[in-house]
């Protein structure tokens, strides 16, 4: 029998808040898992938004090759293959808990549980956990199963339960919530048979933590999360015709929030990375690709997973499904960007590959998006449409917080990184909007008339 697979994607979970010396949350369960499996501490998502990241994870291709661009909504290109198709051929049964927007992108298979799509704000600590436990408790899922859970606990707005709203669980709202999540991970572990299950915990992307310790005082700009969620729930129930009004209200709220944040930070002496984190808003027009939103946890534990603890090599979200495939003994899809990380788990070396990065466009209005490349030493990104605009280069070995943009003083490195970026784009043409066979034959007929075939 093939092992079961439990893929837990914790939306907006940053790697440095998952397992790192600097974190202040209490996470005994995560710590235990890291020691019992293989944890990749330098995992970089190809995108800073959920849909692009999903498209990349489940196809093992960089997002721009999948056809999915953003919400409101492009679907997965009909020629793209997902790992669900591979797993289905191996007899896997699919179960999931995903936020409602998942239905629209054509990425996921038919799940066997009717309640697979949930209201946008569910997390394992506020309802989803109970559902997961129930699924695991009574062998409700037909083996071998692939159980996909995407939980929104750490997606803003973040509500910290009262019992965790205490400094001992973390110095800020985000870390307190991480402590909350950890207790639920513990409960899930109690029901999970890791002798016959591969458990993967990761995230789709990171997040800005709107908090900084200034002169021993914690500054936070996390707005009233409970109020925001209530407002969003009301707005979501509004008829489609009122969507423009709903969008307008969203931007108004974001604008007010931005003004408050500006007021909070105006007299503070903040480093660039602290300032951008505190000021970040969901409606920002200018997008960036800092590690805050890209470096995520990636943990494998359970059946067939070597206990190698922490692996510091830079790896990518496109590698997740090829790795799962090797761990459970199924095929890897050819001609993708991903590769299996099992050799690294076994102590072997793999050459580092540069990672293609892309910011997620805003849904409602046009945003200034960027694309880029990350190696373990350097981060490069620039305007998506014009390589000469909004150019950023950071020396990650000397400047891990990406405070100093050195693009103007290191033109050679900019050119080198741009060349890597171009190679990825050029070598792998986009697949969206390709013609189908019938259309292709019609074009061939016309080309024949013109003497070209």
């Amino acid at each position: 029998m093939k092992p079961n697979v439990f893929l837990l994607i914790l939306d907006s979970f940053r790697a440095d808040k998952f397992y790192d010396k600097t974190k202040t949350s209490i996470t005994p369960n995560i710590d235990r898992l890291v020691k019992s499996g293989s944890y990749f501490s330098q995992t970089i998502s190809s995108a800073d938004g959920t849909l692009l990241s999903w498209s990349s994870i489940f196809t093992a291709k960089y997002p721009f090759k999948t056809g999915i661009r953003s919400s409101r909504f492009n679907k997965l290109n009909k020629n793209a293959t997902t790992y669900f198709e591979v797993l289905q051929k191996q007899g896997y049964n699919f179960y999931a808990y995903l936020p409602v927007l998942s239905e629209t992108v054509g990425l996921f298979p038919d799940f066997q549980n009717d309640d697979c799509f949930y209201d946008f704000f569910l997390g394992i600590s506020n309802g989803l956990g109970h559902k997961i436990l129930k699924k695991l408790e009574h062998n409700q899922m037909k083996e071998p199963w692939f159980f996909l859970v995407h939980a929104m606990d750490l997606h803003p707005p973040i509500v910290v339960p009262k019992e965790f709203d205490n400094e001992k669980f973390g110095t800020n709202y985000y870390e307190k919530k991480v402590s909350t999540v950890d207790t639920w991970i513990g409960k899930i572990l109690n029901r999970l048979d890791l002798e016959k299950t591969v458990l993967i915990i990761t995230a789709d992307h990171g997040s800005y933590v709107q908090s900084a310790l200034i002169d021993d005082k914690q500054i936070e700009t996390n707005p009233n999360a409970t109020f925001q969620i209530a407002l969003s729930k009301i707005a979501n129930k509004a008829p489609k015709a009122l969507r423009p009004l709903k969008d307008k209200l969203f931007f108004m709220r974001e604008k007010i929030s931005e003004q408050k944040k500006q007021e909070t930070v105006k007299n503070l002496n903040l480093l660039p990375h602290e300032k951008r984190a505190i000021l970040a808003g969901r409606a920002d027009k200018d997008h960036f690709l800092f590690d805050d939103k890209l470096r995520i946890p990636l943990l494998f534990v359970g059946k067939n997973v070597p206990k190698t603890s922490i692996i510091k090599s830079q790896v990518r979200t496109v590698d997740i499904l090829p790795t799962i495939s090797e761990l459970i003994g199924t095929n890897i899809i050819e001609n993708t960007d991903g590769r299996s990380l099992v050799p690294l788990m076994e102590g072997k070396s793999l050459p580092e590959l540069p990672i293609y990065l892309e910011s997620n466009p805003l849904v409602i209005k046009e945003s200034n998006d960027v694309i880029g490349i990350r190696t373990s030493d350097f981060k490069y990104f620039r305007d998506k449409a014009d390589a000469t605009k909004r150019v950023h280069l950071y020396d990650l070995s000397k400047d891990p917080f990406e405070d100093f943009n050195i693009s103007e003083i290191n033109l050679h490195k900019v050119a080198e990184m741009e060349e890597i970026l171009q190679k990825i784009i050029r070598d792998t043409p986009q697949i969206e909007n390709k013609e189908n066979d019938e259309e292709s034959e019609e074009i061939a007929r016309e080309l024949r008339k013109l003497g070209y075939l």
């Binding site: 741009e418 784009i425 050029r426 070598d427 074009i443 080309l447 013109l450």
Partner: protein
């Protein structure tokens, strides 16, 4: 003002400047003799020209990709004019060559059997009546008989590696000259008829060639749509109206500049609901104030397959002085000093690595579009 837009498919610039009827219209027009086509084949070239945007953005970057044209993002010449309440009509060689959006009628002629002169004169008569009814019109006329001759006598008889073709350069030149002479006669008849109908007073006449055609310059390309050398990439554009000063502009411009120029002349505002053009109006060049831009082109070398690839595999950037070519099918690169070597016979990439690097970056910058 009406618009009559004539495409002389496959007309080479070295013949145009000596064409009897071409010479007449050139003298009284703004003539751009170095318009670099986005693609050295009609489908790619005309979609770029009609949208003012390279195929990397519009989706039409190969012989196969006209269905990928992003009509919701890129507003075409015909659509602009239709929105301005022009009656729009096109007469074309094939349904693949133009984005159909914006045409009230887009009719396919039979290039093998139709008399294009007769057919297009009949259309001029028809639209003269439309004009007399007080309506503005846009008439697109595609002269396809150079293509017809090349298709029958070159494309169908030889392949890109037929020694017989490349060893008979003189015969090829003569054959092309005969085809061009007929094209020049066609142009004379059409322009004469426009004059006879007295349409030119209130009509902008634009005459372009979409790309050039090989007469055997480079082994491996018997016609066009293979490489990115000047004999196929160099096209031309003539803008004729009494309000436009006559000028011969020899500086390099781009085929994507044609649409913004027409809108500029017709005083049609750019529609902000669509993506911005990559091209820019050429009016400053006519006024002697134009700033040359780097031109970007792509082609699809069929190699030994006998059919064009579905993605471009030859990429080029060009300035008035240099051409850099990247052959993505085999990873080779070429650099030509156009001032010293206009026939692009000596690849100097190893001699000028800095220039190559600079142009490579430009190519990457322009082509980055995802």
């Amino acid at each position: 003002m009406n618009l009559i837009f004539i495409t002389v498919d496959g007309a080479r610039v070295d013949r145009i400047v000596n064409g009897k009827n071409y010479e007449k219209i050139i003298k009284s027009s703004a003539f751009f003799s170095r318009v670099i086509a986005y693609a050295p084949y009609t489908i790619g070239a005309m979609h770029a020209l009609f949208s003012g945007t390279y195929g990397t953005k519009t989706g039409v970057n190969s012989y196969w990709s006209n269905i990928n044209f992003k009509k919701d993002k890129y507003k075409t010449l015909a659509k602009y004019l239709q929105d301005e309440e022009y009656v729009t009509h096109g007469d074309v060689i094939n349904k693949l060559v133009l984005p159909p959006i914006g045409f009230d009628e887009l009719i396919i002629h039979d290039e093998l059997n139709d008399d294009l002169t007769e057919r297009h004169i009949a259309l001029l008569n028809k639209f003269n009546k439309v004009s007399k009814e007080g309506k503005k019109f846009f008439l697109y006329l595609h002269y396809s008989n150079i293509h017809t001759g090349i298709m029958q006598e070159v494309l169908k008889k030889y392949d890109n590696f037929s020694k017989e073709y490349f060893e008979n350069r003189q015969k090829n030149e003569q054959f092309y000259d005969d085809l061009f002479e007929a094209a020049d006669e066609y142009l004379g008849a059409i322009l004469g008829h426009i004059g006879k109908l007295d349409l030119n007073k209130d009509t902008l006449i634009v005459i372009v060639s979409d790309h050039g055609i090989s007469v055997g310059e480079k082994f491996g390309e018997r016609a066009y749509g293979v490489f990115c050398y000047d004999y196929t990439l160099t096209s031309t554009a003539i803008f004729s109206h009494q309000s436009i000063p006559s000028a011969h502009i020899k500086t390099q411009v781009r085929s994507i500049d044609v649409l913004p120029t027409i809108l500029d002349i017709l005083k049609i505002r750019i529609d902000p609901r669509y993506e911005k053009f990559q091209g820019e109006s050429l009016i400053p060049f006519i006024e002697g104030k134009g700033i040359p831009k780097i031109a970007f082109s792509q082609s699809g070398n069929p190699l030994k397959s006998g059919k064009p690839p579905k993605e471009p595999n030859v990429w080029a950037v060009r300035t008035d002085e240099w051409k850099f070519i990247k052959n993505t099918h085999d990873g080779t690169e070429e650099l030509y000093s156009l001032k010293n070597d206009p026939r692009e016979e000596n690849n100097v990439i190893s001699k000028f690595p800095q220039k190559a690097s600079e142009l490579r970056m430009e190519l990457d910058r322009i082509s980055s579009n995802i």
